[in-house]
């Protein structure tokens, strides 16, 4: 269904925003999202130390509750690896090495999927359950929600990668056909002046956030497996 003037030139004049505006939006959103995520997991860090110090009924950490450190280390390492690959991919993207960035992002995505799989396998095979005391509760709650955030971020990465792959042959500054905007074939024009140019600011915001999540993953590993 058409929604805007058929004459694309007219529409761009209406939009008329500085081209870097959307990039700035994404950048600030990445940082704000990281702040919100930090406060979310602060609740679990608080719960960890609060319940640990109370040790109600002596059930903070019963003896049989031993987290599988190998799995935990693998999950953490793969998260960090994925974040590093995305960072390197961003450097390639900035340098105009488009095929290299796509490759690194794809491997980073695969590593992220590996994190998800490993986490599920860890839950299924470990020797304690969520009802086994305070630590077990924090462990399951923290890792479960962490996984949700990871899945969301991988979805974001997948979006950017899919756009980069779909339009891999469009030269820099080129535009896809207007009907491709949001996949809506009825659209006669783009409401973003240069939609493909948004891959880079998107990747910058994502890379920041993914690195932040990897940092949280390291913190989780230290607190849940080593402390």
């Amino acid at each position: 269904m058409s929604e805007f003037a058929a004459n694309e030139t007219d529409y761009e004049v209406v939009e008329g925003e500085p081209p870097e505006l959307l990039g700035r939006n994404l950048n600030s959103a990445g940082h704000l999202l990281a702040s919100a995520t930090a406060f979310f997991f602060l609740a679990f860090i608080f719960a960890y130390f609060y319940l640990r110090s109370l040790n109600n009924a002596g059930l903070w950490h019963p003896k049989h509750v031993t987290p599988p450190t190998t799995f935990g280390t693998l999950v953490m390492a793969l998260t960090v690896l994925s974040a590093i690959l995305v960072r390197l991919g961003l450097a390639d993207q900035r340098a105009g090495r488009r095929s290299e960035w796509r490759l690194k992002a794809a491997v980073g995505l695969a590593a992220g999927v590996g994190v998800v799989v490993l986490q599920v396998v860890e839950w299924a095979t470990m020797g304690f359950g969520p009802a086994d005391g305070g630590y077990a509760s924090v462990f399951f709650g923290w890792t479960a929600f962490n996984l949700l955030f990871i899945v969301g971020t991988l979805f974001w990465l997948q979006n950017l990668l899919a756009t980069a792959i779909r339009y891999r042959n469009v030269p820099v500054g080129g535009k896809p056909t207007p009907g491709h905007a949001s996949g809506d074939p009825g659209r006669p024009g783009h409401d973003v002046a240069d939609p493909l140019s948004l891959v880079r600011p998107g990747l910058e915001a994502l890379s920041f956030y993914w690195t932040f999540l990897a940092g949280l993953g390291v913190l989780a590993w230290v607190v849940l497996y080593l402390a």
Partner: protein, 629 residues
């Protein structure tokens, strides 16, 4: 250069079939039963739903999850992520030019979202208010008469939860969404789809909470305290999902507002020229962004306790109910300021217009707003004074709580000094602003009693604290809300609300509000606890007085409703473009504001409160703004 957006009007049948609210409701119901069936399948319990609710928390929670997902997909929120997943490029705008149907689905025009919020929140405010009337009916007599104790608790809980949850967006939802982009010279919000999502999430949340009556209600009041929370029946799940959805909506709303104000201000609109209402939005958004995730986390823990048998809050399993209290109030006290700060912003924004004076102490007012934002993080344990916290901690939280009155006092001072020797026009919006001063002062002063440990020990959990927070929240937020709606209606709808009816509404509301809540301080001092269906016989006169006053207060809302419907649908008196002679940017635009707001992004050359200055400042240097050429 044309700025025209083409109006496409497909046939009615086509508009009904697409993604809209009807589809959303249908998909929501289908999704609910899908989740419910899945939950039963996982737990292997009976699926005799219509005969017995069988206390299957998992099936109810999965029902809500799939129901809300279906609702959002039916509204059209799944289309864009699906397209992006397949690599299609980003776009910003959807359904901005489709007439009335824009209001019943995903629309990315911030002005449409603002009006959606106004009507949607108004609906749930009405339901919450109706609950309050029923509570006061019950309290007409000392013994239980209309509702059994359990139902009464649910009623109180629904009233409190509905009001505290939905009204978090009471001002930011309608007014910040509508006016912040206009005030900062932007054409849209930073993330228009997220803006729309926040509204529809809130509507889904309201519907979820209302369905608690099908699952036996919940006994905890709006705080959802443990261990009652874990012991309650499946009606508690409605509370948990409701507040989690509200939390997500708040967090995204805050993120979107902050991103918009940080990145999309027009050239020349420096931080020191930002309208004070936008500063209040910034302050509130910081709290939204950071406090709501803590709420979501603690509710997530409670959901895991009820479904996955974790023991976060179960002391027999290594947990602690105090953990819930702590985390809830880490969110809950900033939440109080999430409700109060936008009201302060509205009052400070409107006073210069009606006093025809610049805002006194602009920087002091901003520091007051930001000071409240900061200090609101350091006070949460005053809610736990009587819960058995370490007594060594009490003095710190007592002092930090009292400290917050200093930045609050800044905003008071700035407001009053703005009025001082002003050429005051006693319009309806100004009357509501003046009432805000009176109410919020009483609310603030009574708060000192609750922050002091000795007096809190005797008044905690009584009607005294109930009166206190109604003075701050209803007296602060709701009066400011009405000031805003009378003030901005000409711009939002193009019609003026009836002045005489507005004044009747104001006086009836102001008098009945004080007549309702002032006696409750005495009732509380005399020992009547909150959330109990019976009370001592000697308190009946005061309770009857309060109930009758509350009914009049309810009546005043009907006066407003009548005025609103009458003025907008029947009288339809066209408002001039700038009826209050305001210098703020939004009033320089035509009414109704065009979809794209500005033909050209304005350049700001002065501050928005240059009243009395012969050369107006806030009017953009590069006029014209708005309108289609």
């Amino acid at each position: 250069m044309s700025a025209t957006a083409v109006e496409i009007r497909p046939p009615v049948w086509r508009r009904l079939i697409g993604f809209n609210a009807i589809t959303g409701v249908i998909f929501g119901i289908i999704g609910y039963y899908l989740g419910w069936f899945l939950g039963h399948h996982i737990t292997g319990k009976s699926i005799a739903f219509f005969a017995d609710i069988d206390q299957n928390d998992l099936s109810v929670l999965l029902g809500y999850f799939f129901g809300v997902s279906g609702f959002l997909i039916g509204l059209g929120f799944g289309v864009y992520p699906w397209a992006r997943l397949r690599g299609y490029p980003p776009s910003l705008r959807e359904k901005e030019t489709q007439g009335t149907s824009r209001y019943f689905g995903l629309c990315t025009d911030h002005k449409v979202v603002g009006i959606q919020y106004l009507i949607g929140i108004g609906l749930f405010f009405f339901i919450g208010g109706l609950n309050a009337m029923l509570i006061r009916v019950e309290l007409l007599r000392p013994a239980s008469q209309v509702f059994p104790a359990g139902q009464y608790l649910t009623l109180v809980g629904m009233h409190g939860t509905m009001m505290m949850g939905m009204m978090t967006s009471g001002i930011l939802g309608p007014f910040a969404n509508y006016f912040v982009p206009l005030m900062i010279g932007a054409r849209r919000m930073a993330f228009p789809r997220i803006e729309s999502l926040t509204f529809w999430l809130l509507m889904a949340a309201g519907a979820v909470l209302t369905t608690t009556i099908f699952f036996g209600g919940f006994p905890t009041g709006w705080t959802g305290y443990e261990p009652l929370n874990s012991q309650a029946n499946t009606g508690m799940d409605s509370y948990l999902v409701f507040f989690a959805l509200v939390g997500v909506s708040m967090c995204l709303l805050g993120l979107n507002m902050l991103a918009t104000i940080i990145t999309m201000r027009a050239p020349g609109l420096t931080w020191s020229r930002l309208p004070i209402f936008c500063w209040a939005v910034v302050s509130t958004s910081i709290l939204n962004l950071l406090a709501a995730p803590v709420l979501i986390a603690v509710l997530g823990m409670a959901i895991l306790d009820r479904t996955a048998q974790t023991t976060f809050f179960n002391p027999q399993g290594g947990g602690s109910p105090y953990l819930y209290q702590n985390l809830f109030w880490v969110f809950g006290h900033p939440e109080v300021y999430i409700l109060a700060l936008p009201g302060m912003g509205i009052v400070l924004e409107l006073l210069p217009v009606f006093a025809r004076k610049p805002l006194w102490g602009y920087r002091l007012a901003v520091s007051g707003l930001l000071g409240v934002t900061l200090l609101s993080w350091l006070v949460w344990q005053h809610h736990l004074f009587v819960s058995g916290i370490n007594s060594d901690l009490r003095p710190f939280y007592m002092l930090s709580t009292e400290l917050i009155s200093i930045p609050t006092g800044f905003t008071f001072l700035c407001g009053l000094m703005t009025l001082w020797r002003g050429q005051i026009r006693f319009t309806v919006p100004l009357l509501f602003c003046l009432a805000w001063f009176f109410n919020f002062l009483i609310g603030g002063l009574s708060g000192v009693f609750l922050s002091d440990v000795p007096s809190d020990v005797t008044t905690h959990g009584s009607f005294f604290s109930m009166a206190h927070f109604h003075y701050t929240i209803m007296g602060g937020l709701v009066f400011a809300f009405f000031a805003a709606i009378y003030y901005w209606s000409p711009k939002m709808f193009g019609y003026t609300l009836n002045e005489r009816l507005g004044k009747i509404h104001f006086w009836v509301m102001f008098i009945s509000f004080n007549s309702t809540f002032a006696p409750l301080f005495a009732v509380g001092f005399l020992g009547q606890p909150r959330r109990t269906v019976t009370y001592a016989h000697n308190l009946q006169f005061l309770n009857d007085w309060v109930s009758v006053s509350a009914f009049v207060l309810g009546l005043s809302m009907l006066v407003f409703l009548y005025n609103f419907v009458y003025s907008l649908l029947f009288a339809r008196i066209r408002a001039p473009q700038n009826p209050w002679s305001s210098l703020s940017l939004e009033w320089q635009l035509p009414s109704p504001v065009p979809v794209h707001n500005f033909d050209r992004i304005p350049v700001i050359t002065g501050d928005p409160y240059d009243y009395g200055n012969p050369s107006p400042g806030a009017i953009p240097a590069t006029a014209p703004a708005g309108g289609s050429s």
